[in-house]
Amino acid sequence: MTILACRHVGKVWPGPNGTSVAALRDIDLSVENGEFVAILGPSGCGKSTLLELIAGLEPLSFGRITLDGKPVLGPAPGVVMVFQEHSLFPWLSVKDNVGFGLAMKKVPKPVREARVAQLLERVRLSKFTVHRPHQLSGGMKQRVAIARALVESPDFIMMDEPFAALDFQTRVLMQHFLLEVWLEFKPTIIFVTHHIDEAVLLADRVVVMSAGPGRIIEEVRIDLPRPRRMTDPGFNDYRARLTETLEREVMRAHAEDDGLAVSNAA
């Protein structure tokens, strides 16, 4: 069953001196219920913008986005977002960060605390409930951010390069952790990354975007059994194919920039 449908979605940002900058153009994307989709693309290709549109944090310029058949008009319950590091509220303890969404919805305190304790247990942070974000490592902070999302019992989680700021080992641990959580709760996940390996390792399907304005240039279904490892046979074929697509795209964008520079100079 399709949970998310984007049709001809476009986004234009206001630029300097009354100009406008096209961030996204003609995005068509369908996501099935419980699917894990990775969006892969170079920096500045509008991946984050697309997530913000789906999350209802920014209005669309063109097209239509529906979640569960209903058009997206604002932040919807059951749809949560996990950003890169530094999105925890620094003035709240770990448990208050995790309980933030429930507190906003005026969930009674005993219910909230029980639910928060349960999730902190799940992300193995029970010993750190009263710690403050600045006392945690990068990986622990991201586990808090994931717990904060899961406490909402979301149907849909959007993750904007959640592990980009982590070192390699922590990132590998977090990827395994995310897969565990996904297999357990089966939410739909859209995961934005610029790591090809991460996309192939995690996703059912990888959507490749081009730069400025962002368009979808390729969709690849990853037919590898789980749990996957980067050393699995077949992993390299996907990696090679995606690398080639991305490289071609980066070179094309680069050539276009050069062309632009030349025509400006002339």
Binding site: P75, V79, Q84, H86, P90, R124, R148, H176
Partner: protein, 283 residues
């Protein structure tokens, strides 16, 4: 993963346990180092006075003005106007603290209102920016005209001295709130009001408090000036009384108390910042 997390945690414990511990606690070292320059200045001063330096009449050393305090039974002034020195300190410190507290609360409230409403901002910001450059001391005459001689004037001067600057600081801090925090709050279903009260308000407090600390010194000076020209008690009065009686020991004793009290209030403000507004490191 739990195994590896466990390893990471035990590494943290091991690092904490092997932190070198010397016989002297680090805070004692800090105090010792801070005292060295004082000791040097006072030694030179005392030595000069003891070896017959002429200037010591106008510039009596600590041994002279501190013993003067003991001789005069820690009281200054005559008859009904006489005031114990500890009372003078408390009176001056309370005036500045009350003024700062009211100024801080009012400025944060005004700054948030200005940030929340474009029309209100267009109306009020030019007024605030026109009044902010007026030095706290310049408000003293108006304070005396409005409130007469006494505490309200001193508090008014401190308030006017910090309110406008802190309002501008609040507006600037609201603009600087990390947009990711606001987006996160919105994606978790926070309403517009909740974003102001639960995200923007706590996010700006430490910044505005830092500005309060920076402006405390100007406010402190203004309170003393007000006490000198009109309010007629507190530490400012102590210094001006010394001048009127040509008692340099009293002047220097007053200056010493002004410095010590100002320092103590600043330490108090830093402690408030560390303990209550701990999420941004106090500079």
């Amino acid at each position: 993963m739990s195994d590896r997390t466990g390893t990471l945690e035990s590494v943290g414990v091991a690092v904490a346990a092997t932190t070198p511990r010397s016989a002297v606690p680090s805070w004692a070292w800090g105090v010792f180092k801070a005292l060295i320059p004082w000791a040097v200045v006072i030694t030179i001063w005392e030595t000069a006075a003891a070896s017959g330096w002429n200037g010591s009449v106008l510039f009596p050393p600590p041994s002279a003005f501190l013993s003067y305090a003991i001789e005069s039974d820690f009281r200054v002034g005559f008859g009904g106007d006489a005031m114990p020195i500890p009372v003078a300190i408390i009176v001056s410190a309370l005036r500045v603290l009350v003024g700062l507290a009211i100024g801080f609360a009012a400025a944060v409230a005004t700054g948030i209102l200005i940030s929340a409403s474009g029309a209100f901002s267009d109306m009020v910001m030019p007024l605030v920016r026109g009044l902010a450059p007026i030095a706290p001391i310049a408000w003293i005459p108006l304070g005396i005209v409005l409130f007469g001689i006494g505490n309200p004037t001193a508090i008014f001067v401190v308030f006017m001295g910090v309110y406008f600057i802190l309002t501008i600081s609040t507006v600037a801090s609201v603009k600087a709130v990390d947009p990711r925090l606001i987006k996160t709050a919105r994606s978790f279903g926070a309403s517009k009001t909740q974003i102001w009260t639960r995200v923007i308000f706590p996010a700006v407090l430490p910044h505005v408090f830092t500005m309060l600390r920076i402006n405390f010194f100007a406010a402190w000076m203004a309170v003393l000036a007000a006490e000198m020209v009109g309010v007629k008690n507190g530490l400012g009065m102590m210094i001006i009384l010394g001048r009127e009686m040509f008692n340099t020991k009293l002047i220097l004793l007053g200056m010493c108390m002004v410095g010590a009290t100002g320092y103590a209030v600043d330490v108090l403000l830093v402690q408030i910042q560390r303990r209550i507004l701990w999420w941004e490191r106090a500079p």
